[in-house]
């Protein structure tokens, strides 16, 4: 990209940053509240482990299980793209897309810059509440990773972000073909909660089902990165996960580009 193009997206980034900073106040409280449902889940698992009579369920000890859910929050902070797919769907349906097509700016890259800005602000602001919660739960969390793994771990998180981005873009682009895409999105988000391992670690699933589920990109959006953060993987495995993430990102990004081009043609044809 030319330097002018880079500058352009950098401005988008800065403006989005400024917008986010306005909502500081309620943010602090809201971030803490996000941890509430985890408390319930963890208390449930405590009861399950007590009932099981052993400290191993699905290959995880109770401490691991607590850490799992906490770390899912961190991974979700990278991979979740709230409003992205519905935003794209809305722009397509209500014709705002025209505005972007007229300007010398690439819609999808613009969205990526926007998201990156939002994410960055979120991380800066969320560091406080997250740090407090993690410190309170420090006995459950694994030791901090070594320097060598750190690089790979960061790569995994970036992979999560990009993977989340392309998946949600693709969903939003469905709006070019389906009128009632909103309902479909809702269904999809529901299933994704389960398939990505947010509901519970995928290792708990019976073998047959687990094999199918882990073939899907969602497992690489949340489940595997969380295991990486959990520190229970040798560097070689982490590298493999990053690789699979990259493959999925490339494939899905290509599909997104293709869908975008096709969709635009259809959009123009129908009086965009």
């Amino acid at each position: 990209m030319s330097s002018r193009a880079v500058r352009k997206y950098a401005v988008v980034f800065k403006v989005a940053l400024a917008e986010r900073l306005v909502y500081r106040g309620d943010f602090f409280v809201a971030t803490f509240l996000r941890f509430l449902p985890i408390i319930t889940t963890i208390l449930l698992w405590r009861a399950i482990y007590d009932g099981a009579g052993r400290d191993n369920v699905g290959g995880l000890s109770f401490a691991n299980m607590v850490a799992y859910y906490l770390l899912v929050m961190v991974v979700r902070a990278f991979g979740s793209m709230p409003g992205l797919s519905s935003g794209i769907a809305r722009d397509v349906r209500e014709g705002d897309l025209r505005k972007f097509l007229l300007q010398p700016i690439d819609y999808l890259t613009y969205l990526l810059a926007l998201r990156a800005a939002h994410k960055l602000v979120y991380y800066v602001m969320a560091v406080g509440p997250y740090a407090i919660v993690f410190w309170l739960c420090r006995e459950y969390l694994p030791a901090l990773p070594g320097a060598r793994s750190l690089g790979l771990i960061l790569l995994t998180l970036v992979g999560t972000l990009l993977l989340g981005f392309v998946i949600n873009c693709l969903l939003g682009l469905l709006a070019f073909w389906f009128l009632e895409v909103g309902s479909f999105l809702y269904l999809f988000m529901t299933v994704q909660y389960f398939l990505s391992g947010q509901m519970f670690p995928l290792s708990l699933l019976p073998d047959g089902i687990r094999r199918v589920v882990t073939l899907l990109p969602f497992a690489y959006e949340t489940y595997y990165p969380t295991l990486v953060l959990l520190g229970r993987m040798p560097a070689g495995d982490i590298a493999r996960i990053v690789l699979v993430q990259a493959v999925w990102i490339v494939i899905l990004a290509a599909v997104v580009r293709f869908a975008w081009a096709r969709g635009l043609r259809r959009y123009a044809a129908f009086g965009g």
């Binding site: 009932g51 809702y186 269904l187 529901t190 909660y193 509901m199 519970f200 708990l204 019976p206």
Partner: protein
């Protein structure tokens, strides 16, 4: 007067059914979504009980019944009251509340019952299915008395949830809330879902005490379920019914105070 309000209620329900049926896709998709959620929850249940015989003293079938009772109570609330409570602040903002105040009928009734969400009707069916299945699988004796008590407590549970959420929605006329109503409902549903015993040791028992006796959210599913498939404390049953009555009365008071403020301050 009861006959009249019943007739108004039936009108509301008929109007909403006509409306919901005219939006078929939305109806089907949301019903589908709800069923998916239930399916996922059942998978989770199977996963749990593949690893343990009991959770906080509830065995698999008792736990399944709890799930059914929870679904029953929350679906009833969502069907009858959720969208009405949710719309209150919007109605205040647009001035639509004024039209409700013009009618020669109780404003709280009109506001609370106007909309019915039939897309959660499927949940009700599934909930009943889960309850019936688990009770049969348990093989424990079912008496008419127990069933009636169960239904009474379900009604009390819905009343408690209604009163709490309604008061929250109404007082949002005063304050600007960061936690929206959807979030509040989501947290409430999450807390009420599992056996209440798991909260006993949390935060030195304060959490359990608060959410059983002050904001009785923990018992809305647990107590009706216990009555049906486990042992229960009759004092808790009495407490729940009393809590429902007290909270309903309180919601009426809060509503009137909020209305008075609204009518003094607006122009």
């Amino acid at each position: 007067m009861l006959a009249r309000y019943t007739r108004i209620l039936l009108r509301f329900w008929k109007n909403c059914l006509l409306r919901d049926l005219s939006f078929r896709t939305h109806f089907l998709v949301h019903t589908g979504g709800e069923i998916l959620w239930i399916a996922m929850a059942l998978v989770f249940l199977k996963v749990i009980f593949a690893n343990t015989r009991q959770v906080a003293g509830w065995n698999e079938h008792q736990y399944l019944f709890l799930m059914g009772a929870h679904l029953l109570v929350t679906s009833l609330f969502e069907m009858l009251f959720f969208s009405n409570c949710w719309r209150i602040s919007e109605r205040v903002r647009t001035g639509d509340l004024d039209f409700v105040l013009l009618r020669p009928a109780n404003a709280q009734f009109l506001l609370s019952f106007e909309r019915v969400d039939y897309t959660t009707a499927a949940n009700l069916l599934v909930a009943c299915g889960l309850c019936v299945y688990s009770v049969v699988a348990l093989g424990s004796p079912i008496t008419v008395g127990r069933v009636l008590l169960f239904l009474l407590l379900v009604a009390a549970a819905v009343a408690i949830l209604y009163a709490l959420v309604f008061m929250f929605a109404v007082t949002s006329i005063w304050f600007i809330r960061q936690t929206s109503m959807e979030h509040l409902w989501f947290y409430t549903v999450s807390i009420a879902r599992y056996p209440a015993e798991i909260y006993r040791k949390f935060a030195a028992g304060v959490f359990w005490a608060v959410f059983v006796f002050v904001l009785p959210v923990l018992i809305v599913a647990n107590l009706p379920a216990s009555v049906m498939v486990r042992t229960f404390d009759p004092r808790m049953v009495a407490f729940m019914i009393a809590a429902a009555a007290v909270l309903l009365a309180l919601s009426s008071v809060v509503f009137r105070v909020a209305l008075r403020w609204y009518r003094s301050a607006s122009s």
